[in-house]
């Protein structure tokens, strides 16, 4: 499993969801770093990541994920494509 590939794909999802093509994320990126990252957009983001990687987050993960790094770890472990 290639971590770079996951970050590349996550990056384009973030650009898509926040409609900002200059956005780049790294493992330490948190909601505080992105202006529009509120609870509503978080749901959109989770849905888009699930769709892209054909996997599901648990409710606990959705609520407790602290940064993009944690999100990428879960994706790496569970993704189906």
């Amino acid at each position: 499993m290639n971590n770079n590939e996951i970050y590349e794909r996550l990056n384009s999802i973030f650009q898509d969801v926040f409609d900002d093509s200059s956005l780049t994320v790294n493992p330490d990126t948190t909601a505080a770093d992105i202006e529009d990252w509120d609870s509503l957009t978080h749901i959109t983001l989770v849905g888009a990541v699930e769709e892209e990687f054909r996997m599901k987050f648990s409710m606990k993960e959705v609520v407790e994920m602290k940064n993009v790094g944690e999100m990428a770890q879960i994706v790496a472990a569970r993704r189906k494509r």
Binding site: I13, D16, V17, D19, S39, L40, I43, T44, V46, G47, A48, E50, E51, K56, F57, S58, M59, V62, V63
Partner: protein, 575 residues
Amino acid sequence: MEMPAFTALKKNLRKDMSAFPACRIAVLGDCATQHIAAALGGWGYEAGLRYEILDTDYDQIDAQTMDPGSELYAFHPDYVILVNCTQRLYAAFCACPAGQRDRFADTMRDRLEAVWQRIGEGCGARLLQLNFPAWDDRVFGDFGGKIPESFPFQLRKLNYLLSESCAAHKNVFCVDIDGLQSRLGEDRVLDAKMYCIAKMPFRTDFLPYLAKQITDTVLAASGSFKKCVVLDLDNTLWGGVIGDDGMDGIQIGELGLGHAFSAFQQWLKELQNRGILLCVCSKNNEDTAKEPFLRHPEMVLRLEDISVFVANWEDKASNIRRIQSILNIGMDSMVFLDDNPFEREAVRSLIPDITVPELPENPEEYVDCLRSLNLFETASFSEEDRIRTRQYQAEARRASLQSRCADYDAYLEGLEMVAQAKPFDTFHFPRIAQLTQRSNQFNLRTVRYTEEEIAAIAGSDRYLTLYFTLKDKFGDHGLISAVILEKREDRLFVDTWLMSCRVLKRGMEEFIVNKILSTAAAAGYTVVEGEYRKTAKNAMVARIYEKLGFTAADDTHFIARTDSFAPNPTHIKEE
């Protein structure tokens, strides 16, 4: 069908939709609806509709509908969407005392109807009620189907009761989310965590489907829907090539792969029964092409099911244009079905407005593919729909009489036309409402009315109403025109005048204007005012008032006086 992602729909919200017709829509839910509203707005771009959306806060259905000063009523919506979710329904069911559970569905139905009632009194919007996607708690297992106290029993009953109530409330349309879920599968609709975290009843990737389903009904209720299917023959309606394989060689019926084509024809026949016109456009000799319709024992479709039959060796786009001019309907209300990708592409590029679905390669998948597109959403159904094909065939016979007559006047005289003019009556409310929704070209002000609104107008003394029927020696056109006259202080104002284009240029326009003037005179009015409200489709009537004896007050307003009006000549006699 390939659907855009929810994020793509959200991006659409920033695109320029100023060229699209506007539609004011309010979203009310007992759950979180922000994402639903966003998906809907974004789908508008896909469907060519500019939604202006009021998304009310969480769980505001009662608050918004009970308060006459609410945001909802101040917004003046064209449509109100009611999103009642299955999750809340289950919570209410669990809170329902055991002794009352067998009446749970009835109680909920009454509650929803009360909301409809309030919205009906508070504003004139049409309602789109989402029904409940099935969800079985499996508490009784399959046995729950025999237990009226079980949740799945009550949910199914409620969905049924909702259909029944919508049938009685012409202003309310049921959006069948349960049916959508059964086509897609529960896993593609629900995600438990989304409801737990955000009170969102649906997965985000389901929202585009939901938005499409809602928009399909909005478009149909706003007058945009399909009226006609143009069919290829070889390898579309039957397997093989009639010109090469002959009557014994084509596949239809029980033989070989024939069953797939029979099933497809059966489905088309059902469309035809409900008023969709079927036409044939085939590259064939006409006699060869017609033979299976006349003589093949296993054909489901027969010649009398086809409104216009065109078989020749010209290109299909020209033939489709010919069919369109005979039927006199908009290209955007036509669908072209052909198994050949080259023909599809050619028609698509030459006639951008026609709908040309990508048919699957395997004929057994035709029906499922077309079902999934939901091309034939409608907002009304009346008796006239059933006999439409016969009317268009009579039209073809009239065309042949016309070609034999020396001049047009002689042709009109030879038609022996008789018309009726009567005030709206209960029996005709559905057809009149349907005409206000369907008519785009011959429609002076394009005001859309539901059956309920038509009933209210007919019962009000603020209005005079007239509907018109026309028949001739070839057949009965039925009710083809409606006029609503509003009584203003010093004049009679033509609120609505629309006419079916089937009867254009027969002298019906003249007959109707004469009748409007004589009705005005009988009611004591001297002045009749007509208005032309321009739309993308009604240019044909821009100058009609002037042509028929009105005087232009400005570009869009026209006046006639009963004391100086000279009736227009017409060959139509009043019955």
